[in-house]
């Protein structure tokens, strides 16, 4: 990977970049961590985000961005190693433990998190949240899924269709 080798911090400071959330909070973070975002990686490779300039992220609020960066910082070392090959079992177990706890959060945060992961193209994070949401909905009825995901109440037509479906596919609701 062509990203700056800044994460090791052997001598000298790692390269830092500044990200600016939609509500104008500035986050300073190692370039290696921010580069987990495919979108940001290109800008950073072009030298963006350093110095006094920050990279504005108009679609991500500060609460969400701080959560996103928590994920990126934790995953950056493994990503710099090219992922799994060099990672020890202990490292992997630690990341897995982190991931499990990371998505064990209020559902309202999950929605903004998956949108942010999607917009910033952070594949690992998107996948992690998608899995969490899938686990949340898999045992639920269509109506419960709608409520969980904050859909508006169904129209009478949609409701009738759901009822008919439940009659036809009773086995799926056991």
């Amino acid at each position: 990977m062509a990203a700056p080798e800044s994460g090791d911090g052997n001598n000298g400071a790692a390269r830092m970049v500044t990200l600016i959330s939609s509500d104008n909070t500035r986050f300073e973070v190692e370039a290696a961590a921010a580069s987990l975002s495919q979108t940001l990686q290109l800008t950073i490779l072009d030298g963006g985000g350093g110095g006094g300039d920050g990279i504005p992220l108009p679609n991500v609020d500060s609460a969400t961005l701080s959560k996103v960066l928590e994920y990126c910082i934790k995953h950056a070392p493994a990503a710099a190693n090219g992922g799994a090959p060099n990672a020890t079992a202990v490292d992997r177990a630690e990341l897995e433990r982190f991931d499990n706890e990371f998505v064990n959060i209020d559902q309202s945060v999950l929605y903004s998190l998956i949108m942010a992961a999607h917009n910033l193209e952070i594949e690992g994070l998107q996948s992690l949240v998608a899995k969490k949401v899938a686990d949340m909905i898999k045992g639920k009825s269509p109506m419960e899924i709608r409520r969980t995901l904050g859909f508006p109440d169904p129209t009478p037509e949609e409701q009738a269709e759901m009822n008919a479906h439940m009659l036809e596919y009773g086995w799926a609701y056991e």
Binding site: D106, Q107, S112, K138, I145, L149, E168
Partner: protein, 340 residues
């Protein structure tokens, strides 16, 4: 827990797809429910694109067990017929009269194709149905398309002969001798298709007949030692190799055919399960004259005193599927169908 914040806009379809792709394959019912959340989810799950992305096909594989009313209603259509084989959204059934008639039936749409002039079959015989485009078709959208039926049987005492029916020409080709007839002929257990070959149990589970669809030649391989007289079912493994499930007493064992680089093959036992430990006491003994399995050795069906039970190897879940005791065989039928 509070519901997700009311989205300022709906989740983009790509994200919904990412979420639905992560519903565990062993919970197909969850996908059925999700398809009813709203029209766009239903469309997404039925789309060819989604089915292609679920590359193993497992995400959308669904059981239509006896508890599904539409399947039961359809099953009434074939009362008095026996299911021989099911694949690629088509089910091959035979009439239970002396001169057998064969039909190919789609349990979802109810469409039934009568095969004209089934060749005279004596001794023991068996048959398989496949999509006519097998090899180039991905079988995700070939419902109702052309098919081939392969009937292996004997009309002389020394040879297994093969007759092939093509739905496109609506004709049987001339029977062709493909292998020596073993002492006990063909076994009437569901065959399997692995890669480009059909596998049939023969000679009371002593051997397996392999028919290569490309070279149109047959060969015979022994089943694992000690299988003679047991109930065995050939089955495709996840790695595209040949597997076999065997029921001996109440011990269910699973085997995989291992091919050595020099061309030799041998059976390797993957696991053995004492069904006695998993089935309720009232269900015992296991009747050893049939067994079915689906989803590459994940779910098994066994007949017992108390009816038909399914046994999920992964979760260990045991469930009574139906009360019938006079069942001849279980042919799992896995398909994707989302009502439009």
């Amino acid at each position: 827990m509070a519901p997700l914040r009311r989205p300022p806009q709906e989740l983009p379809e790509e994200l919904v797809e990412e979420i639905l792709l992560r519903i565990p394959p062993i919970e197909p019912a969850a996908l059925v429910r999700a398809s009813l959340v709203c029209k766009s989810w239903g469309r997404l799950i039925s789309s060819l694109r989604f089915r292609r992305r679920t590359s193993t096909g497992e995400y959308v594989a669904r059981y239509v067990p006896a508890s599904c009313p539409s399947a039961r209603r359809r099953a009434d259509d074939i009362r008095g017929w026996r299911v021989l084989d099911a694949r690629h959204d088509r089910v091959l059934i035979r009439s239970m009269v002396h001169q057998a008639y064969l039909d190919v039936w789609d349990p979802v749409t109810g469409v039934r194709r009568v095969l004209t002039a089934t060749p005279p079959l004596e001794y023991r015989w068996n048959a398989a149905v496949i999509c006519a485009g097998h090899g180039s078709c991905d079988h995700r959208d070939c419902r109702g398309g052309p098919f081939l039926v392969f009937v292996f049987g004997a009309n002389d005492p020394d040879w297994i002969s093969l007759s092939v029916y093509s739905s496109e020409t609506a004709r049987w080709d001339r029977p062709r001798r493909v292998a020596e007839l073993p002492e006990h002929g063909m076994d009437v257990v569901p065959p399997c298709l692995v890669g480009n070959a059909l596998y049939f149990g023969i000679d009371l589970s002593r051997s397996i007949l392999r028919y290569d669809l490309a070279t149109r030649t047959a060969s015979v391989t022994d089943q694992p030692p000690g299988s003679f007289g047991c109930f065995t079912v050939p089955m495709g493994m996840r790695d595209e190799g040949l597997g076999l499930a065997r029921l001996k007493g109440s011990t269910l064992s699973l085997w995989s055919l291992y091919a050595y680089p020099d061309g030799d093959v041998s059976w390797v036992k993957i696991t053995a399960i004492e069904l006695n430990r998993h089935l309720p006491a009232g269900a015992l003994p296991v009747s050893s004259d049939f067994l079915g399995c689906a989803q590459g050795f994940v779910v098994f069906f066994v007949g017992t005193q108390d009816g038909l039970y399914s046994f999920d190897l992964k979760s260990g879940m045991v469930k009574k599927v139906c009360d019938d005791k006079g069942i001849l065989s279980v042919v799992p039928y896995i398909t994707l169908y989302t009502p439009a």
